[in-house]
Symmetry: C2
């Protein structure tokens, strides 16, 4: 079927979302059925505004560098389409003779994708979802493109922070990492654990409500043992009643409390309740944008997932998301496959409770077996001195 | 003069403090006058405890990797020696026959170093300060080892954050970077500026007091022009009355307000006063520990500075800090020299006011000329699409 292709991004960027874009464009150019290769600027907002760019007009040398360019080269948005928007979107897609539609996003975006696919009716259009999220919370996929790089960022940052805290052991450092409601990214801090007494000493995920007294006991126990303590927390930590551990204390224009600052809140708690020196750090969005810490496996997979989406559409498939199935961890091997969009739309895959330790302050080895292949090159091997003591005089 | 060498670290680690250690050890091994090569664990605390390690017993392969290992391999501390401590320290140095003393730190440490050198009296000991600080606030040196790498971290992080904010332009992001009372590091954000409308849009340094109304006007002006705004602030920002723009609201064991959180405070202000969506991020200590973003020039210079310290001591010098004098920026060339410790002890070099723009919300080009050679490899060239519009139908 001849016609135009449209790709759009939804939600937060990742370090490899452009690599999927590269995969889509490179594959699309191989198929004469695909006439125009269009990109929507700023996701569905660009679709509604008919703000499309002609990706066929970009230089090959630029396309080739997309994989090592952070953020979304097309632009993205967080707009959720209303029921009234959908028919408008479909009319626009028809007007531009879009016959191949690729939507690159997380579980919200897969819902959008699914609804458009269903609505198309007798307008022949192949709709394929391209998965993407640093949160790794999509179901029916071994892991999401974008997660491996963000996990690598967390692991290397934790490793370096642990070295810093060990070498100037004057405080408890609480480091906040992204991941919203799922603990996958915070768990990646565990990959940095090299030595029993060196950090990260404590890791808290949103899947286990944080009990303040237990948290303080944990920190106290470690600070009695070592001088510098490193605590890694997920931004989405909740209390036993399900409410967030922290909000900024600020109310936005809609009257909603602005979330954020869990590391700072816990650091303040440590100072106030335990009388220890403490500080909070939060690389925040940097964790999804770092190219120096990109995982090459993640980048390759993101590209392949994009290319596979195009191949699937060309072969007649529609209404699916591209998925990765793990064949083995060692050697690492995956296979690409398709899953129906309705199975992944709006579903959140949480971190498995059975991979969290009993106390809820650390992650079991099973997670490392799962995650290590995804971060690409092994973590840097930073040396430690033998430290042979000079005999006392 | 035959005798033992002792090296100690003071204050916060940098990404290249171990490179200076490498330089000291490698050079020391070349000189038969130097018998034992000792390191103090955790700075002057290790000296007072006679907690020394024998660096001559470390494998060459380990020493060679020091330059690419973050934090302080010896350990550091923030302890300030009291007047009563000094004679104790001197007795310990004599007891261990320390004839070559190297203290690697910032302006506080140079003061310590200076006092020990003066106190030595007729005990023959060569004392040389090895400069180190990410804050770049030592006087009588073109720039401090450790600054180039931290500046590279800020520049790359700002570049990536700017891409993220441009591609999902839904908020004002306020990013906090280190530097205490000096704006050198925050200024490095300006190196990431590639395009007039792309971030960083605003940069605030502690050398210019922050006037709240002007700050809000600046943010408003940019948010009227572009959807996503990136603001970079130094952790040490002060109000016109000299008080910090933010503290954590927490009081420590000594009754002092705990500083920190200037980005969060300003972000809250933006939400409350301008009604805009805003978030704060703060990579914090990560900015001084990153090896993937280390500057190779900084690493090389740090090693050479360490080696030069040993050569100077061997040649009979004492009571000096190793300094770097810039011969030219293009091509970049520096010369090593010595400056008397009393000239650098406790003196802070601020960011030049004439390099700050008139409004106090940005940095002039002179700074880039100064800083670019220090960050090593050029910044990554991330592509942007041409974005040829598809004609509207």
């Amino acid at each position: 079927m001849k016609g135009n292709l449209l790709i759009a991004h939804g939600g937060g960027p990742t370090a490899v979302i452009n690599s999927s874009l590269q995969g889509v464009i490179e594959e699309a150019k191989k198929h004469s059925e695909i006439e125009g290769i269009y990109g929507a600027r700023f996701g569905v907002e660009g679709v509604l505004k008919e703000d499309f760019i002609d990706l066929g007009k970009e230089l090959d040398s630029v396309i080739k560098k997309l994989g090592v360019t952070p953020a979304s080269a097309l632009g993205s948005c967080r707009r959720k389409l209303t029921e009234a928007d959908y028919p408008v979107v479909l009319e626009i897609l028809k007007k531009y003779n879009i016959r191949y539609l690729f939507y690159n996003g997380g579980n919200d975006s897969m819902d959008t994708c699914n609804k458009i696919a269903k609505l198309a009716g007798n307008y022949e259009m192949r709709v394929i979802g391209v998965p993407k999220t640093i949160d790794n919370d999509l179901e029916h996929i071994d892991h999401c493109p974008g997660f491996g790089s963000a996990a690598r960022y967390v692991a290397i940052s934790t490793l370096e922070m642990a070295k810093d805290v060990e070498s100037l052991p004057i405080h408890v450092v609480v480091m906040e990492v992204m991941g919203r409601n799922a603990g996958w990214l915070a768990a990646a801090a565990s990959l940095a654990k090299k030595d029993k007494d060196v950090g990260p000493h404590l890791i808290y995920l949103p899947e286990r409500p944080l009990v303040e007294e237990e948290f303080l006991e944990d920190v106290k126990e470690w600070s009695d043992k070592v001088n510098g303590v490193l605590v890694v927390v997920s931004e989405g930590l909740v209390k036993p009643d399900g409410s967030p551990v922290a909000d900024t204390g600020v109310v936005d224009g809609f009257g909603h409390k602005v979330p954020g600052g869990v590391a700072q809140a816990l650091s303040n708690l440590i100072i106030n309740k335990l009388g220890l020196k403490s500080r909070a750090d939060k690389p925040g969005l940097l964790g999804r944008a770092s190219i120096p810490m990109q995982s090459f496996i993640d980048r390759e997979e993101a590209r392949e997932v994009g290319a596979f989406a195009v191949k699937s559409a060309i072969s007649g498939k529609s209404g699916y998301m591209v998925s990765m199935k793990r064949i083995s961890s060692n050697p690492y091997k995956t296979e690409l496959e398709l899953v129906p969009l309705e199975k992944v739309a709006n579903v959140e895959k949480k971190f498995p409770l059975e991979w969290i330790n009993e106390r809820g302050n650390g992650v079991k080895k099973e997670f490392a077996d799962y995650c290590l292949p995804l971060i690409g090159d092994p973590l840097p091997e930073y040396i430690s001195l033998k430290k042979v003591a000079v005999p006392k005089k």
